[in-house]
Symmetry: C2
Subunit: 110 residues, 2 copies
């Protein structure tokens, strides 16, 4: 009990849920928006930008990376983070799917 019943859902459903869940925190939305603005940055930049401690930011970065939404490359001392397009591509496909379905019918609802 308490655990998500992952086995009973499709791989695609689980993948989409993981991607959406990773974006399900305002700090992680803020990190993505910041990365869109500055293109690349290091963890310390985000620590300066957000009202969160360094360990907390590091944890959020890890979750975004595990979900496949950002990439991190070692650059000497620091780690250079940037957006991982392929992760966003997957969600985009889902939302296009939703939009296409909704456009077909004329907003008929209950």
């Amino acid at each position: 009990m308490g655990t998500t019943k992952t086995d009973f859902f499709t791989d695609n459903q689980n993948e989409l849920a993981i991607l959406a869940k990773a974006l399900g925190h305002p700090a992680r939305i803020a990190i993505i928006e910041y990365l869109l603005k500055v293109n690349t940055c290091i963890c310390g930049d985000i620590v300066n930008e957000l009202p969160l401690s360094q360990p907390t930011v590091s944890q959020h970065l890890k979750e975004l990376k595990n979900a496949g939404l950002i990439k991190g490359n070692i650059e000497g001392n620091a780690i250079c983070y940037c957006i991982n397009e392929s992760g966003f591509e997957k969600i985009k496909v889902f939302f296009q799917h939703v939009t296409t379905h909704l456009e077909k019918r004329n907003n008929e609802c209950c």
Copy 2:
């Protein structure tokens, strides 16, 4: 401690996070996909479709409704659920924003 520091983020960041969080579970992705297929349905239909108990499905429906992703209308005995387009519109705008930013630069990353 343990609570998300909502006050330190913008309304838009919090709203997007709430929408994404609502989609951050495979059962809720499955519910949305099912609603896309059948247009409208009642809670019992989803209980038959998913490997989850009635109270659990009811709870997931509540979360999707609170986030603004589905609508529920009382129809006699039952409640008729359907997709709420305006919720999806908000996320779509966010992803368009991401896509536009990413297309501008030529995939330059770290």
